[in-house]
């Protein structure tokens, strides 16, 4: 074949399929070929749904042949984070407690992907129950960063970011509770969006912290993220937190590439001392680029963002301890010790002890503690209030500026194994992504070059007011265009893999 179909963007592939330059079947097969050849080094996929994906591609090709109206992403392959239920397809959530479980229903995100003829190649790795920042908490395998195989791909959506950065799929679905889309995208040199909480349905997204969980796109270009975001977003009566109102066109915003008249706030508290030198240097350089593009840049203080880590590590485990109570070994998944003698409580205790990994147990215990009598007001109740103060900081800031910016994460991708025994060090990766998560506002991470000292990718985080997701896409695409070419194209040949 003269051209490698795996190197094109989702937008380009959709156009090629529509114009009958290639078939969706050829595109799908090309991606499976690359996965089968190279994923043994990356270990991003947990399950390949080859027969169903090729079947789905054939249906798209029939539509093309009949000149039917096509969805903007029809025939484009996607990697699905294993936190999303897909009917009849193994869904583990990175946990042994759900090994071999085949959900009897589709999540709303999957339903929308299918309706839009996006080809789901299979399920990708993640930290168990989305708890982690390196994907090392997966019960199944350790996914690697394609920029340097000795480093982590970020997390919890590390399978999604590694698959897209390795050109195994142009599109992936990730989920973000405290940074799990933005941080893996940043450390893999690609784009990741956490939409406004409530704009993408959580139905069928296996819950970690319900008031924070949000699905979103992980892609190589800003335009591809906008296209995928528009496919998955929309009101859903099956999610009681779903917002019945739509945002302005994200694709149109991604086409603007002009920042004249836009006011951008640099968050004073996120950066500086303790942050990796190359991260800060690239961030400062991106601020200069924003100015050159016509934006006015000012410094903004979000005083309560300093408490975000503490607030998050009380609220998220509390919600998790409640949400994960459903894994009791009674109706689906693992059951341990049911020998006819043991009672139901003993079987539950044994099932959960064997089925959950160390980080999940740690957070369940922490959450149980924060919600228990005598501590509820001091911990959970107080955290919910400080969360309100963090949201008020954002509201006040957005009266002065259109969007806020910070580095996405304090460091680049660290070495595998470096932080596994130190939960607190792992949590620090989320320092900059937590405040917008707690406020429920949308944020995007876009690549801004490689850090000088380790040649690993750095991300810029852009944050907009709730329901104004389009502003993030406008700024991100302007920054992307100003860099003249995608950062990830530097490893297009996957020299590290071949």
């Amino acid at each position: 074949m003269s051209e490698d179909l795996t190197t094109f963007s989702a937008q380009q592939l959709a156009a090629k399929i529509k114009n009958k330059d290639v078939t969706a079947s050829e595109v799908t097969q090309a991606h499976f070929d690359r996965i089968e050849k190279l994923d043994k080094k990356i270990e991003s996929f947990l399950y390949l749904d080859k027969a169903a994906a090729l079947e789905q591609a054939k249906r798209v090709d029939k539509k093309v042949a009949k000149n039917e109206t096509l969805s903007p992403l029809a025939g484009v392959p996607l990697a699905l984070k294993d936190v999303m239920t897909q009917r009849g397809v193994p869904t583990t959530c990175g946990s042994k407690i759900l090994e071999n479980w085949r959900p009897p229903y589709d999540s709303t995100v999957v339903k929308r992907l299918k309706e839009n003829d996006v080809i789901i190649l299979g399920k990708v790795n993640m930290d168990e129950f989305a708890m982690g920042s390196s994907t090392e908490n997966s019960a199944y395998q350790k996914t690697k960063n394609p920029w340097d195989l000795s480093r982590i791909p970020g997390g919890s959506s590390g399978g999604s970011s590694a698959a897209v950065a390795s050109f195994f799929a142009p599109l992936a679905i990730g989920t973000d509770t405290g940074g799990s889309i933005r941080q893996p995208a940043a450390v893999c040199g690609i784009v990741g969006t956490k939409p406004t909480y409530g704009t993408v349905s959580r139905y069928g997204l296996i819950a970690f912290a319900s008031s924070l969980d949000q699905a979103g796109p992980i892609t190589r270009s800003v335009m591809d993220a906008a296209l995928l975001n528009e496919v998955i977003a929309g009101y859903d009566p099956l999610d009681s937190t779903s917002i019945n109102q739509s945002t302005a066109s994200l694709v149109a915003a991604a086409n603007t590439k002009d920042l004249k008249g836009m006011k951008i706030g640099v968050i004073k508290e996120l950066g500086g001392e303790g942050w990796q030198e190359g991260v800060v240097a690239n961030f400062n350089q991106s601020i200069e680029t924003l100015k050159q593009l016509g934006a006015e840049v000012v410094e903004i203080s979000l005083p309560h963002s300093l408490y975000a880590l503490a607030v998050y590590y009380l609220i998220a485990p509390s919600e998790a301890s409640s949400n994960l109570a459903r894994f009791d070994g009674m109706r689906y998944g693992l059951r341990v010790g049911d020998n006819g003698e043991k009672d139901v409580e003993a079987v539950m205790n044994l099932t959960r002890a064997q089925g959950f990994g160390p980080e999940v147990k740690r957070r369940i215990i922490l959450g149980t503690y924060a919600l228990s009598t005598g501590y509820y007001d001091a911990y959970y109740g107080q955290a919910q209030k400080v969360r309100g103060l963090i949201a008020e900081d954002f509201k006040a800031a957005f009266e002065k500026v259109d969007v806020l910016v910070s580095p996405t994460s304090p460091t680049t991708a660290w070495k595998l194994g470096e932080r596994v025994d130190n939960p607190l060090a792992m949590y620090l990766a989320d320092l900059a992504t937590l405040p917008p998560s707690l406020a429920g506002v949308p944020a995007i991470s876009v690549p801004i070059g490689l850090a000088k000292e380790d040649q690993m990718p750095v991300g810029l985080q852009i944050i907009a007011p709730a329901m104004q997701d389009h502003k993030n896409y406008q700024v991100a695409s302007a920054i992307e265009a100003a860099q003249g070419g995608l950062l990830i194209d530097q490893i297009k040949d996957l020299a590290s893999l071949v």
Partner: protein, 98 residues
Amino acid sequence: MSKITPEALKHLAKLARLELTEAELAMYATQLEIILDSVDKIREVAAGDVKPMSHAVGLTNVFREDVIRPSLDRAEVLSQAPATEANRFRVPRILNED
């Protein structure tokens, strides 16, 4: 400074339905103390009258009409259960004899 004794941790594990080994109890007791110390600083924030927050646009109490809708396929659901009997979930003994 929070202090978590192994006894207190055992009680939490029981509430959370987690059978923990002695080694796990010791490890989590140390780690939880470190984590709790780091989150303790939220107590210093004066937040007396602040309204607790949980949704981006403040959505609360969503209602819908009570209409009959198709539910999940019974055979498909039961096919995923660890144990079934007579078209139902089979679970271990719930009551003790003593």
